[in-house]
């Protein structure tokens, strides 16, 4: 139901503008005085010296998931680079040495200067190989080249930074070590 809000007409004092200005200046001065008196009450954080605690599901920069044997989980299906609106993922495929998997990436690069951090690559991946849960958003480098994250960089993450109770965020299952896969997924990966 629509609610009609009646506009209150301004009183003479308000229309004179001057009184309202004085009131506004009072407000700003109150802030100034309060912050000068109690700096510790200001809602602020001395970033970057103070670590900012972002939630676990915050969409930050990417990482590539690994199989238990340390190989990238990516199967070079190009889904992510097709979905990417910024066209910033470059993939080159090569035949996989694992007989059950067709391809693996030889080169996997994300240009973080071009990326818009939309998360569509993460959504598109059929095997959960790319994730954006590193919570790192302040990416700063001196040259443009350094902003292009290649495969070793994307694979280089510390399991300690991710919740230990969530096995999937630690290591993606599959690959040669079926025993481990079974532990994590609870099911065996079928041989072809």
């Amino acid at each position: 139901m629509a609610k009609v809000i009646q506009r209150r007409s301004l009183t003479l004092l308000e229309r004179s503008y001057l009184w309202e200005i004085i009131k506004g200046m009072g407000t700003t001065f109150k802030h100034l005085f309060r912050n000068f008196k109690n700096p510790e009450k200001m809602q602020l954080m001395s970033y970057p010296e103070v670590e900012v605690q972002t939630p676990q599901n915050y969409r930050g920069s990417h990482r590539l998931m690994k199989r238990p044997d340390g190989e990238p989980r990516c199967v070079a299906c190009y889904m992510c680079s097709t979905a990417c609106p910024a066209r910033c993922i470059t993939i080159e495929a090569e035949p996989s040495s694992d007989p059950r998997i067709e391809k693996k990436p030889r080169k996997f690069e994300i240009d973080w200067l071009v990326c818009v951090f939309c998360g569509l690559c993460e959504e598109a991946c059929p095997v959960d190989a790319i994730r954006m849960d590193t919570r790192k958003v302040a990416i700063s480098h001196y040259t443009r080249k350094e902003f292009i994250a290649d495969m070793p960089r994307l694979l280089n993450w510390d399991p300690k930074d991710f919740p230990a109770n969530d096995a999937q965020s630690q290591k993606a299952p599959g690959g040669k070590q079926n025993q481990q896969a079974k532990q994590i997924w609870g099911l065996e990966v079928k041989h072809s």
């Binding site: 200005i21 506004g24 200046m25 407000t27 700003t28 001065f29 802030h31 100034l32 912050n35 000068f36 700096p39 510790e40 200001m42 809602q43 602020l44 954080m45 001395s46 010296e49 103070v50 670590e51």
Partner: protein, 461 residues
């Protein structure tokens, strides 16, 4: 021809000036740099004021590379900004008019050097040299045109704006320049008219006389409150600051007249704006807040008790340093609880500042006490019942008066900042209607009423 002129000048019947008179007369030119010195403090004040009003800390990261980084709560940013502006690329757009484009930023900045010339920084110095009375005026140019000269000079800065707008050959810049010119035309009228009341009362255009009148009677703000309001508003509009910054309103015309400028050319506009504010603050303090005069203390009284005045000034300084000491101690504790990675470095800096201010404060306070006990101003002679003091007393009193004037000017500088961070920008038509329909009429009515009352009360003029 030139020989003749020099000969004529030398043959003029000029009173012989002593060495001290020469030194003071030439030394007065140093006051030209006061607006520039103000700018450094003013930018810091603006940043800190803005950040505290908006519940944040403000820029504080650049540091001097000594003692593991001294940040001075962000004061170092002024200097790093300067380095940045000086070392950036100075870019000239292809279609700009090269000559005017380069000359324009300098004009507004140059004016900042000229206007302090007519401001009375202290009461006219008089001292007894041993056989006669020496006298030096408190202004650089002691002229009866006084404030008119200042208006003429300060309105020259609009040429810089208009010229830069035209020369940069950009639509936005031109619009900004047009707006600035229109604003300046409309507000200059009410600005000049609002002051007529105080000229009427003081009976002079000479700022020295106006201050002397206020010293003898009452501050301008009490007899001319309406004029004060109109003048302050027009001055804020003149300097083109919020809420009157339509000339550079970034939401409509990007940055207005200095849109095409970069590096130090932009820096000149930026500093010119601040210099303009400082000049305006000093002028308002002079016209409405008694200038260099201390309330209820005449210049003669000040000279007779210059030891007390100096001691009070030093005492105030010592107290301020002590306040800074307490502030640092407080903030050190706050920062330690934040859990920052650089807590050690910062702790060292804060300890250093705490130690220095903790030592400086008692030293300055002790100096204040020493000044009070050691100095003893004695009248050297008396002329018509007025005591005439030796030179050092006059100079010390003048120093106190300069400090008083600067303190008053700071108050107004703060009002500029405060207004800017409180009020949103006016629309262009609102600015015009405020200028022409309200302020101008207020100024005219104020003039008429002042004239009638002055006629009734004094019965003369």
């Amino acid at each position: 021809m030139i020989d003749q002129i020099i000969q004529m000048t030398l043959n003029l019947d000029m009173p012989q000036m002593s060495v001290l008179e020469w030194i003071i007369t030439l030394g007065k030119f140093a006051f030209v740099f006061i607006p520039l010195a103000f700018i450094v403090v003013m930018i810091f004040m603006e940043r800190k004021g803005a950040s505290l009003i908006q519940d944040r800390l403000g820029p504080n990261r650049s540091a001097l590379p000594v003692f593991g980084g001294l940040r001075f709560f962000g004061f170092v940013h002024n200097f790093t900004d300067g380095i940045k502006l000086f070392t950036k690329e100075t870019f000239i757009p292809t279609y700009a008019h090269k000559v005017w484009y380069v000359v324009a930023p300098g004009i507004g900045f140059l004016v900042a050097f000229l206007t302090p010339a007519v401001i009375p920084w202290f009461a006219p110095l008089t001292w007894w040299t041993g056989d006669h009375i020496s006298q030096v005026s408190g202004m650089i140019i002691d002229s009866d045109t006084g404030i008119l000269l200042m208006f003429a000079l300060s309105s020259l800065s609009i040429y810089g704006t208009a010229m830069s707008a035209w020369a940069s050959n950009s639509k936005y810049a031109l619009l900004g320049g047009m707006r600035a010119t229109a604003m300046m035309i409309s507000y200059e009228v009410s600005m000049g008219l609002s002051l007529m009341g105080i000229f009427l009362l003081a009976g002079s255009f000479n700022l020295q006389h106006i201050v002397a009148w206020q010293e003898a009677h009452v501050w301008g703000i009490f007899v001319q409150p309406v004029a004060f309001f109109v003048f302050l508003t027009s001055m804020i509009a003149e300097t083109g600051r919020a809420p009157f910054d339509v000339a550079e309103s970034e939401s409509e015309i990007v940055a207005g007249y200095h849109l095409e400028y970069s590096a130090m050319r932009f820096g000149l506009f930026y500093m010119g704006e601040y210099a303009h504010i400082v000049i305006a603050s000093i002028i308002i303090a002079t016209l409405f807040l008694g200038g260099y005069a201390i309330p209820f203390v005449s210049t003669d009284l000040l000279r007779a008790h210059v030891d007390i005045a100096l001691a009070l000034c030093l005492g105030g300084l010592g107290t301020m340093i002590g306040g800074f000491h307490l502030m640092v101690r407080r903030w050190k504790k706050v920062y330690a609880t934040m859990g920052a990675k650089d807590a050690g470095t910062r702790n060292r800096e804060y300890s250093f500042l705490q130690f220095t201010s903790g030592v400086a404060s008692p030293v300055v306070l002790a100096l204040a006490v020493a000044v009070f006990f050691l100095l003893n101003p004695m009248a050297a002679t008396t002329v018509d019942g007025t005591p005439i003091f030796p030179a050092w007393v006059s100079i010390a009193a003048a120093a106190v008066q300069v400090v008083v004037l600067i303190a008053k000017a700071f108050l107004f500088c703060w009002i500029w900042i405060w207004v800017r961070w409180t009020l949103p920008r006016f629309r262009y038509d609102q600015v015009m209607s405020l200028g022409w329909k309200i302020l101008l009429n207020l100024a005219l009515v104020n003039l008429v009423v002042t004239a009638i009352i002055a006629k009734l009360v004094t019965g003369v003029r």
